[in-house]
């Protein structure tokens, strides 16, 4: 059975949260670059995937990420009013508000899916957002959604971070075993 509350005990010691950040090219990605230029330090658990605009953000990417192995998802774009493409983030704002509520309705903890507007100048905000997201997800522990990745006992690849991968618990319902 998936456990959500007080599962701090269940968190494997060497577990590290995996978080994917979808960042718009014009603002947040620029802000993340600026964080680099300023040599800011933030946790490495976040990997940035560049999209042209937060309006390009298809909710299906989020489901894929959560289904396939990420513990958290960040979506970042320009501040409303600053969209390079004028209106993209307004659409994203609506879509993501609805989608976030839907995911939380299905039991996803709010910390696992976050949306933030970060401008190209807000390197500090980018760093803080990443730190906050990592903190939040770390506190929540490995994701509690059932994933069925079919590679149960594959030999480890030489370069593979197999432990982190195996740390994902295999939650399977009894009826699926039956099926």
């Amino acid at each position: 059975m998936p456990v959500v509350e007080n599962n701090a005990n269940a968190i494997p010691e060497d577990w590290e949260p995996k978080i994917i950040a979808f960042c718009c090219h014009w603002c947040t990605y620029t802000g993340a670059d600026l964080a680099g230029l300023n040599r800011m330090n933030y946790p490495a658990n976040v990997r940035v995937l560049r999209i042209p605009c937060s309006g390009r953000m298809n909710p299906q990417y989020v489901i894929e990420a959560l289904n396939k192995g990420c513990d958290g998802v960040l979506v970042c774009g320009c501040h409303p009013g600053d969209c390079h493409y004028v209106t993209g983030n307004y659409y994203a704002r609506r879509r993501m508000m609805i989608f976030k509520r839907l995911l939380e309705y299905e039991g996803l903890e709010p910390g696992r899916f976050q949306v933030k507007w970060i401008s190209g100048a807000e390197a500090g905000k980018f760093r803080d957002t990443v730190m906050k997201a990592v903190e939040d997800v770390r506190a929540l522990g490995p994701i509690n959604l059932t994933r069925e990745i079919p590679y149960f006992e594959l030999p480890a690849m030489p370069d593979d971070d197999e432990e982190a991968f195996n740390a994902v618990p295999e939650e399977v319902f009894p009826e699926e075993v039956n099926a």
Binding site: D33, R47, E64, G88
Partner: protein, 660 residues
């Protein structure tokens, strides 16, 4: 399997200091589709680039991943490099190993792990990209300027002087706009007409400029370099090839109509020139008020016309032409204060006038021939109250913004009044006095020295007592109630966008802000461009401005246009949306969402199950699409995809990352 080459960069020690680049390279060799991995001290250096080129040829590489600094830095460099190789420049993905990895992490092991993931993602993405090719768009070397005010004229002149053809569309019967109505211009107090009318005739006589007066834009299609614009030239009922502008008709016309140019303070005839120096300097018939056109009897003008230029059968003419660039110089109007300010009488006191009416009153060719006489009884007002910020900086009743020019022209009005009525008293109610301009504050101070009395506060009420207008307000500096009995009140009302701009902007898919002003592409860095490529802004179409600023911006817009028209061809960005017509159901959701109007729905014929079917599908205009991808998410069927950021490539990028 694809043949992917991975080129990783040490960036000196910038990357290699915190990332074990060789370990990343080792990992990259095991990735599906990767046939070659190379590390380099400085990949972006000339020898580094040469190495990439050679490897591409030698190893038969067809897709490239580079792992150096941010793509925002060198992506164009890599694309340019690939253009010289058999690899398509868009079969490229940049893994950001510096700005987003080595520079932000300290622990080498952790940074190396992250670098591996970034390379994995890039490899997964590049494996799913397809070659893209820019198309060349021809540029029609002709510009359209909408609006013939000072901004429009200046833009047109600058473009025309550079050697390009320009058409000006002006919906009034003459060029000149608001500037030509003004009496003098601050701070130099030049006669406005004296500096504006020479511009008008210069425009009218310029060999490269075509003036379409009394005309409006009917429709537009196309994109940068190739706008097809249809212009409706309203019926003038006068054959301009015959008319000499002698004015005989105007003197005989029996219909008298309110004169808009004189702000309603005098009458004109139904056949009229807007004002004596109008360009073109020929009259039109105001069909609504012409007895001949309305009732079929009269025809006086035709009788008196010595050249037989009157043509009552005239009709609107539509002409379509292709332009390479378009400039919006549509200007402003003054806010209709009457419904907003009932406390100022809401229009029931004729002696409460607007600044523009004051300009005409003080103008030598105006209704009073330059004598300041109040409209109700043609007496000279001995005390005048000027109220600033009527409709401006008043979010409750009017607009939240500052109209920028009013501080200065109210000072000018006070100065002019005191000049012409030396024994008069002038009170100016103000919120702030803003004079940031060359010679502006000096001008204001002079006005104060002239005797204008500045009172800080809003007038809360105006009512009539006898023939006086009692203005009640508060002087917030002394916190005292102030009551002034004025003979005339001048309201310096807010500038708002010109009528009809909403429809016009929609036709061109130019964005408007909440107040209706046209939106520039970037407030700081692209102030005269719009988000629709090839469309530019000049003057107050973009927001309130005074004349020098409008002229400045007009020059800037012109220089952008000249830069564009100087090119014979444009290269289109191939990373734009593409329609899979087999999947498209043509419901147009994508077209609604597109901020650039780049998507249209067209009927097309298909063969489906060996039947011919005609159905609507979306069509992307490559000249307009900017590649934001908003349409792709709207399309549930996935018929719309963004090249370079396809659904497939992003999904596989996510997958690759999830497997870290």
């Amino acid at each position: 399997m694809s043949r992917i080459g991975v080129f990783l960069c040490y960036c000196g020690s910038n990357i290699a200091g915190t990332v074990d680049v060789e370990a990343v390279a080792e990992m990259a060799r095991t990735l599906p589709g990767v046939v070659y991995v190379e590390t380099n001290k400085y990949t972006c250096s000339d020898p580094g680039q040469e190495g990439v080129k050679n490897a591409i040829i030698e190893k038969g590489i067809d897709r490239v991943v580079v792992g150096p600094c941010s793509p925002r830095m060198h992506e164009p460099t890599w694309r340019k490099l690939l253009a010289d190789t058999p690899v398509n420049p868009y079969m490229l993905e940049v893994a950001n190993l510096r700005e987003q990895c080595s520079w932000v992490h300290k622990d080498k092991a952790i940074a190396t792990e992250k670098a591996k993931d970034l390379v994995k993602m890039a490899v997964a993405k590049v494996a799913r990209l397809s070659p893209l090719h820019s198309t060349e768009i021809p540029v029609h070397k002709k510009a359209l300027v909408i609006g013939g005010g000072i901004a429009g004229m200046q833009t047109a002149l600058d473009i025309a002087d550079a050697g390009f053809k320009v058409t000006i569309v002006e919906r009034e019967t003459s060029l000149g706009g608001k500037m030509v109505m003004l009496d003098k211009t601050f701070p130099t107090m030049d006669c406005s007409a004296c500096i504006c009318t020479p511009k008008m005739s210069e425009v009218g006589n310029h060999p490269n400029i075509t003036v379409k007066s009394y005309s409006e834009v009917e429709s537009v299609s196309g994109y940068i370099g190739n706008f097809e614009v249809t212009i409706r030239e309203k019926a003038k009922y006068i054959d301009y090839t015959k008319c000499t502008g002698c004015g005989a008709c105007e003197t005989k016309c029996p219909s008298k109509v309110i004169n808009e140019f004189e702000q309603g303070m005098s009458k004109r005839t139904a056949i009229y020139k807007m004002f004596p120096q109008a360009v073109p300097s020929k009259p039109v018939i105001d069909a609504e008020h012409c007895r001949m056109l309305q009732e079929g009897k009269c025809g006086v003008c035709a009788k008196v016309c010595p050249t037989g230029a009157i043509n009552y059968q005239d009709e609107d003419k539509l002409t379509t032409e292709t332009y390479g660039a378009i400039v919006f110089a549509t200007g402003y109007k003054l806010i209709d204060w009457k419904p907003l300010y009932p406390e100022y009488g809401g229009g029931k006191y004729p002696d409460v006038i607007t600044g523009l009416q004051f300009e005409r009153l003080v103008n030598a060719s105006g209704p009073t021939e330059g004598h300041i006489l109040r409209p109700s009884d043609n007496k000279e007002p001995k005390s005048v109250v000027i109220i600033k910020c009527v409709g401006s900086r008043d979010p409750n009743k009017g607009k939240a913004y500052c109209s920028r020019a009013c501080c200065m022209y109210s000072a000018k009005h006070a100065h002019q009044y005191l000049d012409k009525v030396p024994d008069g008293r002038c009170y100016v109610f103000y919120m702030d006095v803003r004079t940031p301009g060359k010679g502006y504050d000096e001008f204001y101070m002079n006005t104060v020295h002239d005797g204008a009395q500045y009172l800080r506060g809003r007038v809360s009420k105006i009512y009539k007592e006898g023939d006086k207008l009692i203005c009640k307000g508060e002087d917030t500096l002394t916190s005292q109630q102030v009551t002034v009995a004025a003979d005339m009140v001048v309201l310096e009302t807010a500038m708002v966008p010109a009528d009809g701009i909403d429809e016009l902007a929609a036709k061109f898919t130019v964005g408007r802000d909440a107040d209706g002003w046209l939106v520039e592409a970037h407030a700081k860095l692209r102030p005269v461009e719009t988000n629709t490529a090839g469309i530019y802004l000049a003057g107050t179409a973009q927001g309130p401005k005074d004349i020098p600023d409008s002229v400045c911006q007009a020059g800037a817009a012109a220089s952008k246009v000249i830069g564009l028209l100087n090119k014979d061809k444009l290269e289109s960005n191939p990373q734009i949306s593409r329609v899979n017509e087999a999947l498209c159901q043509g419901d147009g959701a994508c077209a609604n969402i597109c901020p650039y109007g780049a998507i249209s729905i067209v009927e097309k014929q298909f063969r489906e199950n060996s039947r011919k079917v005609t159905r609507p599908v979306a069509q992307v205009n490559p000249g307009l699409c900017q590649g934001c991808g908003a349409c792709t998410v709207t399309c549930r069927a996935g018929a719309m995809d963004l090249m370079g950021y396809t659904n497939e490539s992003i999904m596989r990028e996510v997958d690759a990352l999830c497997q870290w």
